[in-house]
Symmetry: D2
Subunit: 160 residues, 4 copies
């Protein structure tokens, strides 16, 4: 199972996003899922750190043509040369995505996931709150990392 | 000047989105701007129809490998084979974007525009209302097609 | 009809590639075809110059996020942000491609065209000579700009 | 170190390409390199099989939006939705590429590698023979899987 983890590369100090992401990564690894992300810092690095510590596999789809800025917790660091368009690759490559915290990139990927029918889970993610009640069937608002990982794996299994 | 027009391919009946889009297209053409869009129906077709009637140039970046579904008002219909990732190309190719109405694809492109610093104007676009006050500098909430086109061309000129 | 013109951005001095490309562009415009290319200099610029002089439409799919390096003969200059991967877009967007002269980028696009079944015509193109006799059905070795344009339009019509 | 392995998905019977590719994969894994490929059958599957048996990591960048056709020897199978354009991603993601056997896709990727300056090694690859003497500095014509892997790792190290 490939689960995307999406979130800001430079989360607000004190937001707690990185602690949540690290726990999400750890839980994904324990459940045997491969973590796919944009490969940089902040939420991406924290999730990969958690996953790697638990023995999981992590994939970073990097914006540039080299590994500059890649976090050190990637099993596989893949330069794409696509710039911001590589966000869409993270969605295409994932069977479900978990958004932690919020940023424009996050919102972009979340909206793309909704568009393409990829199951989408939000944790501490303001964007979820803005999407309106008619989207409740596709966006799962998670209360905790445990809830987020459960929801993502359940939705990805159902979509297979 | 290349201005992207973004909006749903199948807008809600009675939304008035297509009338607004057609007027936006017409005004862009009169101001000499090239209209860039996803090339399909709904808001995209309406904007192209308005632009073409006013003698403007319209470009459609299509998702598939052929021109299936392309609207008949395109000066240039370009199959990309990129699927939904071609939304990002519309943003990359445009100097400013005008969003008419709302949909997940629209929100995705709007969020990507904000991420990449492309000026972004919203007209009858619920997504603008959800983006929060701190984004007021980047998202212009337009009151009319005239206002939207003015704002987009002004912002694109300033960014040159 | 959309015809791609592919060739080196900096052809060898004295190769005559630019004269051939300019004539190809002119003929494509006279036949009502839209010229699609990578938008930069050399063969691309020469072809666009010929097409524009004959009143044709020219599209440049540029590698960067702005129009730096774009030739001045483009009806539509579209930044893609895809770098060298935008070569593949030129092939996807075209109903047939004409290769003038030779370079690695040219060979890459020609090989991609062969792979995807896009009709491919070579003019003064060493690459054609290297492709082997079993490819004669897909690569047309043109003797002149007239022959190249004829062959491309005929093949594109047949593939519709 | 990320090394791309490129070759036909359906090699000619009796070509021996798959035996060569399997040995290349095995040697890459033993040297600690991550194998990147297009993720499908033929040469790609054989290389991954060899790498996986030796405990290596294999990445498949698949053309579609799901894992249909993915070979069973992938550590990470990543749908891209880019179709044939994902060939360019294999090149962008790799520090050097080894081409085994020959096909249009192979030639396309080899030409793209030459264009972008990615070191390129050919093994039993007709395309190398066609590239001309002036390219000898960039294309290494390997005599054996051992030679190919040595050359690719040496070139990738030098390029870091």
């Amino acid at each position: 199972m490939r689960i995307g983890v999406i979130g800001p590369g430079t989360p607000d100090a004190g937001s707690g996003d990185e602690q949540l992401a690290e726990r999400v990564g750890e839980l994904l690894a324990r459940r045997g899922a491969t973590l796919v992300c944009g490969g940089l810092g902040g939420v991406m690095a924290a999730a990969c750190r958690g996953a790697q510590r638990a023995g999981g596999t992590t994939v970073g789809l990097l914006p540039g043509l080299d590994t500059d800025g890649a976090n050190p917790y990637l099993t596989v660091a893949l330069p794409t040369g696509l710039g911001e368009l590589r966000n869409g690759l993270v969605v295409n490559a994932s069977e479900a995505v978990i958004c932690v915290g919020g940023s424009w990139g996050t919102l972009s990927e979340m909206a793309l996931a909704l568009r393409t029918g990829t199951p989408c889970v939000g944790l501490a993610c303001w964007a979820v709150d803005t999407l309106g009640s008619e989207q409740e069937r596709t966006v799962h608002r998670a209360e905790s990392p445990e809830d987020a990982v459960d929801a993502a794996l359940t939705a990805a299994s159902a979509a297979r």
